[in-house]
């Protein structure tokens, strides 16, 4: 028997400023009006702890909502009921290749319904947005986020605005249009688009998922950490390698692990959280390598477009989380990204998008440098599907072998003998 989920204020204490600590009620607010620092959701762990047992979680739904007691919604989930709980795959072949005895792939390429980890954050954001009384959702995005918001808004019958740069690839635009949101192409360079979208978010009473709903939205990423721990038999790994764009996912993985530890759901917590970026857009990893606690924004130039955030909102916090955990960060070139993608596909049968190539490429480097040791339990987060970024590997996968419709030709081409029957 499972107890009904905790309601409203029993579980959510409110929002708190990550910089000055000022507290706010759990409304749609994302910046502290004292110091302009970002806000984050705070929970009543004392109320949550007594009821949150391994058994209670295991009895929950086979989705990210099995962790609803640690997610920032007041009632029952209403959007994205099937998101999350993706496979954790024991990657023996890839582990052999890289020199790791216990390597696992957390496979969010098959997240429901839009094949990336964004289905997690968007499920939480839209459920919360409804609770806060919104009927219109919006986001500014170049890819995965827009797909997920558009799909979930369609299913939830919410109005939806998706803002995209005017020069996005046709396949990505179509991936939004099919759900019939209002797709708005914004002219101008990236900074113009960014600035306008921030102004639109400030002006209209919409749930802009990664702006005014961001404190709730971002919490959805914690479920990747929760699932990894549960799927490892309630054990925290020694390493988690995380791709970084805004740095939010990495920050929340660290938060999620610490929550599980604090709530007594795991016995040991010595996980090192490692960050991965593409060399052509690596403000966070570059700062890490220079030993700095601040980063310099960059103009992105990489095939890993889902990670191309030049001035990342959570960059500072990601640096802090990796440092606290004793983890490392590194970068890979575009060629290494493609190598990572094809290596993962050819060893484990998982076709990841470019962000996955970044994760695998950096994992390889960290093992080579001795920062991840052979015997350490290591999890690589593979967060998006390769079918969305096919052009990246188009020239790296070869061509089919062509033959005439003749058995002899076939056997000759492949050096196969005639079978005796």
């Amino acid at each position: 028997m499972t107890k009904p989920a905790l309601k409203g204020t029993d579980k959510i204490k409110g929002l708190v400023c990550r910089e000055c600590g000022k507290e706010y009620p759990a409304v749609s607010l994302h910046v502290c009006d004292m110091c302009f620092g970002p806000l984050e959701v705070q929970y009543n762990y004392k109320t949550i702890k007594p009821r949150l047992t391994r058994k209670a979680i295991e009895a929950g739904p086979k989705s990210l909502w099995r962790y609803v007691d640690l997610l920032p919604i007041a009632g029952d989930p209403t959007v994205g009921l099937a998101a999350g709980f993706t496979p954790l795959v024991r990657a023996k072949n890839l582990g052999d290749e890289l020199g790791l005895d216990k390597l696992y792939i957390k496979n969010d390429t098959v997240n429901h319904p839009t094949l990336s980890f964004k289905d997690r954050v968007v499920s939480v954001a839209l459920t919360r947005a409804r609770e806060l009384g919104y009927d219109t959702v919006a986001c500014a995005s170049t890819g995965n986020l827009a797909n997920s918001v558009a799909a979930h808004a369609a299913a939830a019958k919410m109005q939806c605005y998706v803002f995209i740069p005017h020069d996005l690839e046709a396949s990505k635009v179509l991936g939004n249009l099919v759900y019939r949101p209002n797709v708005v192409e914004v002219e101008g360079n990236y900074d113009d688009v960014n600035r306008l979208c921030s102004e639109i978010a400030g002006e209209h009473k919409w749930a802009f998922v990664n702006v005014n709903i961001r404190p709730y939205y971002a919490e959805g990423s914690k479920t990747l950490a929760y699932e990894v721990v549960e799927q490892l038999g309630w054990d925290a790994p020694d390493h988690i390698v995380v791709p970084m764009a805004s740095g939010s996912l990495l920050t929340k993985i660290w938060k999620g692990l610490n929550e599980f530890s604090k709530l007594g759901l795991i016995d040991r917590m010595a996980t090192k959280v490692d960050g991965a970026q593409a060399e052509g857009c690596s403000p966070i990893a570059a700062a890490y390598k220079l030993g700095r606690d601040f980063f310099k924004p960059v103009k992105p130039a990489t095939i890993a477009k889902s990670l191309a955030i030049g001035n990342p909102a959570d960059g500072y916090y990601a640096l802090k989380a990796t440092a606290e955990s004793g983890g490392a960060m590194d970068t890979v070139t575009d060629e290494e990204i493609i190598e990572g993608m094809t290596l993962l596909a050819q060893t484990e049968g998982i076709f990841a998008e470019t962000a996955g190539g970044v994760t695998i490429g950096v994992l390889k480097k960290l093992v080579k440098q001795g920062l991840i040791k052979r015997t350490e339990t290591t999890v690589a987060l593979i967060t998006g599907n390769g079918l969305k970024t096919q052009e990246a590997v188009m020239n790296a996968v070869g061509r089919p072998t062509r033959i005439s419709p003749s058995l002899v030709d076939f056997q000759k081409t492949f050096g196969l003998g005639i079978h005796e029957r």
Binding site: C35, F208, R214, R292, P297, I309, N311
Partner: protein
């Protein structure tokens, strides 16, 4: 009257320049209110609220850009 919030980033060679002070003199009808900042030898940024007529704020921001300071929304990148 509008209140707009921006993140101002000073490139290393601009850190020592009195940019905001000059802007205040050129645009006396726009109030600037620094709410959080980190200014060191190798990095300098400020979170600033600008209050006044929206068009005048727009001109003040453009003036700051002209001086080589990078101006972003308070949320930094919102296009994910």
């Amino acid at each position: 009257m509008a209140h707009l919030r921006f993140h101002l980033r000073f490139p290393e060679d601009k850190i020592k320049q009195p940019v905001l002070c000059q802007i205040n003199r050129t645009f006396p009808k726009v109030d600037t209110n620094i709410r959080r900042a980190d200014v060191r030898e190798k990095t300098g940024w400020m979170d600033v609220e600008f209050s006044g007529d929206p068009a005048e704020i727009e001109r003040a921001i453009e003036g700051i850009r002209q001086k080589g300071v990078i101006v972003d929304p308070i949320e930094l990148n919102v296009v994910e």
